[in-house]
């Protein structure tokens, strides 16, 4: 019995997804450790500045804040919980979500990107995921520490951020399809470079058209830079763990599939 190219039950979407979720949870844990060690000192500094500023509020402003805090559903969570269990919850949830999505993307490109191996196409998904989902949105709307940003503009800033994220994700999918089409006429490197250039043009134009945000006020530049650096390292470690972990697991899954095919072909030839 020989295998039909393009059909495989061993490499099913569910097999990819379960690996993606496992890798994503581990990646979330790694990102939590990085964020806790590098980012939390900066968050604490920023909250210290926020509280120092709050010390100068007028009695009316203090009364307004207390009234807002007494509304239904308003809770206060201690800093100890926020920076440990709360941070961990967020990192695990986002890690599992992104790991799962990356694994389905890896399933979609498996065997479809020219001569790339299973490991090659999966590693590319990790790299493109980091660039499109983390790096490009960060370049236009970098992470901001607590004490920066006005509550009045959160709606607009959220819309801009996710608008750019949407453009970036759609653009990266489009240029992978484009570069893949170009493979019929061009070599792999030329097609990949044209795809990369097309992506950069699209996100640069989108970034140029979207509104800029500057609500820093007199927030200290060094704390801001340390915070942003820690945030970027956190995102990089999350995606590095997803990319490397998924490449290893998908690679092994493919090896088992290939060994299985070779064994069946040997049996058929006897």
């Amino acid at each position: 019995m020989s295998t039909v190219p393009g059909e495989s039950s061993a490499l099913s979407p569910a097999a990819f997804l379960i690996r993606g979720l496992a890798v994503g949870l581990v990646a979330g844990l790694i990102a939590f450790v990085v964020a806790f060690a590098l980012g939390e000192p900066q968050v604490d500094d920023a909250i210290g500045l926020e509280e120092a500023a709050a010390a100068h509020l007028t009695p009316d402003e203090v009364a307004a804040e207390e009234a807002a805090a007494d509304e239904d559903g308003m809770v206060e969570i201690s800093r100890e919980n926020q920076k440990s269990w709360g941070l961990l919850t967020g990192m695990l949830a986002v890690g599992a979500a992104l790991g799962g999505l990356a694994s389905l993307a890896a399933a979609a490109v498996l065997g479809r990107l020219g001569g790339l191996s299973a490991r090659g196409s999966t590693a590319l998904v990790g790299l493109l995921g980091f660039v499109a989902i983390a790096l490009v949105p960060f370049a236009k709307y970098p992470a901001t520490p607590p004490a920066v940003g006005s509550g009045d503009t959160i709606g607009g800033r959220t819309a801009s951020y996710f608008g750019l994220l949407l453009v970036s994700v759609l653009a990266v999918i489009a240029v992978v399809v484009l570069a893949n089409r170009l493979l019929a006429r061009l070599d792999g490197w030329t097609a990949a470079l044209i795809g990369a250039a097309a992506y950069l043009v699209v996100v640069t134009v989108a970034g140029y058209l979207l509104p800029s945000v500057n609500e820093l006020g007199d927030f200290p530049a060094d704390t801001l830079w340390y915070f942003r650096r820690a945030s970027l390292v956190t995102l990089a470690s999350l995606w590095a763990a997803i990319g490397v972990g998924l490449t290893v697991l998908v690679g092994r899954m493919y090896d088992r599939f290939a060994a299985d095919v070779a064994r069946r072909e040997l049996a058929a030839s006897l």
């Binding site: 295998t3 190219p5 393009g6 059909e7 495989s8 490499l11 979407p13 569910a14 990819f16 997804l17 964020a35 980012g39 939390e40 968050v43 239904d72 559903g73 308003m74 809770v75 206060e76 919980n81 926020q82 269990w85 709360g86 919850t89 967020g90 990192m91 949830a93 986002v94 979500a97 799962g100 999505l101 389905l104 399933a107 979609a108 498996l110 065997g111 196409s121 960060f138 709307y141 992470a143 901001t144 607590p146 959160i154 709606g155 800033r157 959220t158 819309a159 996710f162 820690a230 945030s231 970027l232 995102l235 999350l238 493919y254 599939f257 290939a258 070779a262 064994r263 072909e265 030839s269």
Partner: protein, 71 residues
Amino acid sequence: MSQTTATPTAVVTVPVVPLLKLGTWVVFFGLLAMLAIFFVSADQGALSLPAGNAVHEWVHDARHLLGYPCH
């Protein structure tokens, strides 16, 4: 690269996952993933589900450090 040579040493072509089969999973998990990311990244900021600030406060530090607009 061809599979017509049925020798054990033949190079196995990297298989593809059928897009129709994959599409169902993408829709199903895509919605779940967006919901999870929404709660960490944006809930009780620009949009609130449920009302209050408990979710926001609990994932507060992750939202800042993952680069989402927080407040």
